[in-house]
């Protein structure tokens, strides 16, 4: 282990502070209204269900919440008969 590592390791508190600030900013802003991810998820699923039937297993949702930007990735396997090929 290098000296730099030792000094870097000593500074885990700033990492903790940053992680908490991001998390708490998000949680506080969500305390009054329902979870944004949950709302998006439900509404997107409802729209899709209107047109095609999808199994829960065909839907993968991942999220990565960042300080300035978050990504919500929704991966849906739908089976639509291909009209062009028919």
């Amino acid at each position: 282990m290098s000296l730099l590592d030792i000094f870097k390791r000593r500074g885990s508190a700033p990492v903790a502070r940053e992680r908490l600030q991001v998390l708490l900013a998000y949680e506080r802003s969500n305390r009054q209204r329902p979870d944004l991810v949950a709302v998006l998820r439900e509404e997107i699923m409802a729209v899709i269900a209107k047109h095609v039937t999808v199994d829960q297993d065909d839907v993968q949702i991942t999220m990565e919440r960042g300080e300035t930007m978050s990504t919500l990735e929704i991966d849906i396997n739908i089976n639509i008969p291909n009209a062009a090929a028919a």
């Binding site: 282990m1 030792i6 390791r9 000593r10 885990s12 508190a13 990492v15 903790a16 992680r19 991001v22 998390l23 949680e27 969500n30 329902p34 979870d35 991810v37 998820r41 829960q56 297993d57 839907v59 993968q60 949702i61 991942t62 999220m63 990565e64 919440r65 960042g66 978050s70």
Partner: protein, 271 residues
């Protein structure tokens, strides 16, 4: 078929969540498929200790209620492929968790994993009882301190009466994990000794985790101590405890005061 292990204590703040993350990671590091499940509904923290707090989409309650299926809710660890987290709900209250729902989720986890570690909430109420309900084994996290030992004793009573195994007259293996052990304070007679604790609880010892600042550093950065600082004394103690949990016979050495010159200089163990 997985072994379901509840990590419990009665008292709060003794190290259940820390131990669930560290034991779970240690088991996964040795090649086992592991799921750690946060039962602390409303006060989830295992996600934070595991560094997955920004990736939670679904939670345990969503799965018990059928809003999501298990594979959608499990979050795969970014460092170890075979380690997964099932987070607790932050917004719902603990009454949203039903026994039937938990039974279903645990049964499904059993199929997919080698170990399922259930991080219990503090207390002896419904939440703690649901966390232990379907366990095959229990890790009772205890600090060498009077109120913690007393609460552990009550939890042992519940393990012996309120779990499914107890009700069916089957055995449930129990292990005491002593955490936040301070050898210097024990030497000065300021803390209960290991023997005191084991005598009182008359339950076999899984390991002794020393009080160590590496544990705090690791939760600061969101990584189980066994991953973040594998050579740290607390990490090594957790790795050994995980081996004992798998039935290995690993001799137990009492942590002595090992502070040297470098430690004093930098305030940490030189690994």
């Amino acid at each position: 078929m997985a072994k379901v292990v509840v990590v419990t204590s009665g008292k709060g703040g003794v190290g259940k969540t820390t131990s669930t993350a560290a034991l779970g990671a240690a088991l996964a590091q040795s090649g086992k498929r592991v799921a750690v499940v946060d039962f602390d509904v409303g006060l989830r923290n295992l996600d934070l200790v595991m560094g997955a707090e920004r990736r939670v989409v679904f939670d345990l309650i969503n799965v018990t209620q059928g809003v999501a299926n298990l594979s959608q809710a499990l979050i795969r660890d970014k460092r170890i492929d075979s380690l997964f987290l099932l987070p607790a709900s932050q917004t719902r209250d603990k009454d949203a968790l039903s026994e039937e729902g938990v039974a279903k989720v645990i049964a499904e986890l059993r199929e997919k994993f080698d170990y399922v570690l259930c991080d219990s909430p503090a207390g002896i109420e419904r939440g703690a009882q649901l966390a232990m309900r379907f366990a095959d084994e229990a890790v009772i996290v205890t600090n060498p301190e009077v109120s913690s030992v007393r609460d552990s004793d009550r939890i042992i009573g519940l393990l012996d009466s309120r779990t499914l195994r107890a009700e069916k007259g089957e055995s449930l293996a129990k292990h005491v994990l002593i955490t936040r052990y301070d050898a210097a304070r024990a030497a000065r007679g300021e803390m209960l000794t290991i023997d005191d604790v084991l005598d009182i609880l008359s339950t076999p010892l899984l390991g002794i985790i020393p009080e160590n600042e590496g544990v705090l550093r690791s939760s600061n950065v969101g990584s189980p101590v066994t991953l973040n600082e594998p050579n740290n004394v607390a990490a090594r103690a957790y790795i050994e405890a995980a081996r004992r949990l798998q039935g290995e016979d690993v001799p137990l050495v009492l942590p002595a005061e090992r502070k040297g010159f470098l430690d004093r200089l930098f305030g940490r163990r030189a690994a």
